[in-house]
Symmetry: C2
Amino acid sequence: MLDNIFLEALAAVIEEGGFDKAALKLNISQSAVSQRIRNFEEQLGRVLVVRATPPEPTEDGRKLIKHLHTIRLMEHDLNDSMGLNPSGEFVTLPVGVNADSLATWFLDALDGFLKEHNVLLDLYVDDENRTHEMLARGEVVGCIGTVSKPVKGCRSDYLATFDYLCLSTPDFYKRWFKDGFNRESVAKAPAAVFNRKDETQSQMLEKLFPGDSVAHPIFYIPSTESFVDIICRELAYGMVPEFQVEEELKSGQLIEVAPQGRVPVSLYWHSWNVETKLLEGLRRELVGYFNKNV
Amino acid sequence: MLDNIFLEALAAVIEEGGFDKAALKLNISQSAVSQRIRNFEEQLGRVLVVRATPPEPTEDGRKLIKHLHTIRLMEHDLNDSMGLNPSGEFVTLPVGVNADSLATWFLDALDGFLKEHNVLLDLYVDDENRTHEMLARGEVVGCIGTVSKPVKGCRSDYLATFDYLCLSTPDFYKRWFKDGFNRESVAKAPAAVFNRKDETQSQMLEKLFPGDSVAHPIFYIPSTESFVDIICRELAYGMVPEFQVEEELKSGQLIEVAPQGRVPVSLYWHSWNVETKLLEGLRRELVGYFNKNV
């Protein structure tokens, strides 16, 4: 059987991003970490870690780390069923999440679950392609995505659909769109876009001006809260999920610039197809949150 | 002389992250973009772009892009001095900033400047090593950092020093630290850490328990606002800049867990050593903000 000590050394080197940091986490010396990895590699006759900065797992290394995550989850169930879970011991679940979800509903949905099960999250905020890749590689146990199609070996569950609205302040609208939201005004007005991978702005323009890409000034601001902030400061207009700005809309601080340009975005929970109570609980919690609240 | 059309095609391919996206930005066909890059490379007898996904500039490509940024800044000054700046035309400045600064004081400091000079920002939020590398490569014109030593060809200006405090709710404190904040309680209590590159937690522990690395449960949460959120939700304790939680401290919602473990962090503005009004204005605005407000 595989030695857990070796598996844990391997996972620590990859997750912490270095042999030195793995040593800190495992409370052993750095040379002991290197020795464990070397022994493990010799035992299996395979290279498991590419010695780069940060170290990268090989294909085989990845399979072993995913195996360790699965064992941890199963062990949690086993202890639980035998009444053995030492209270106060945490399980850490690596999870991918998009910035908008994390800044708004994500923690609210999981608050109770995390407390009840002594779960800590190891959150990765990145674009969807990246978190899907991490899921497929076994680096996260689940992630939030906008496509329904599950990754191989995973399942996907529908969560909710949010409208992204095209918003500005009334004064910004008067200044830039007094003759309407058309090709001419769009070409001149500064738009806020999260980063180069954020497509809601271009999807909105494609919806209103099909087949005709409009070049326009862009303020790139990769922070969910600051994104709304620069719109309120009249530095730009931009696409924001409706539920994030309910107050600003009600008070009239922000108005819809192009009501025809709403872009609906659906969210799905993608997770490993492994039957463990923790993963199943996480899934139920996320799906249930939207059935209750939306 | 170098052809601006070529320079702009090169910069667009790198900044937009693809020949297709560069085509959209420049409002020309993708094959026209490729043609311009090829012509430029033939003219100079150098490879400028590594055709990867996304495309990477070569060392020479980088120098040319930095050159273009400098020309744009100088042209802005020139137009300005001749009263020629077409009103409504934006200049975009690529700038690196850390997540905490962006979420708190950064936009407030620059609000007036951005409006007055029709400047849009192209913000990169990444760890400091990465934004410094971008500065050295000429991919950003300036960045916020915590070290004072300037990058080659750049200058650095002191901005301010903030204390990071170790915080939790009173109930969290009673539950986890009722016998004090010591090695034993720290080993058990869940701590919030931004990501693997965030060192304030380990700096605080090193200060209180020198030479003795304490392994402890960690909740990784790479979002400035959600970071405070999980502390308020009693899912963890963690290190937060004082000015971000003034209200919570005053109301007693959060308390200092380890007053001896405050970690001061100094911020510096690093920018190109080029004499242009815009860069000089940006610098003056950032430095002046803290002389007025702190």
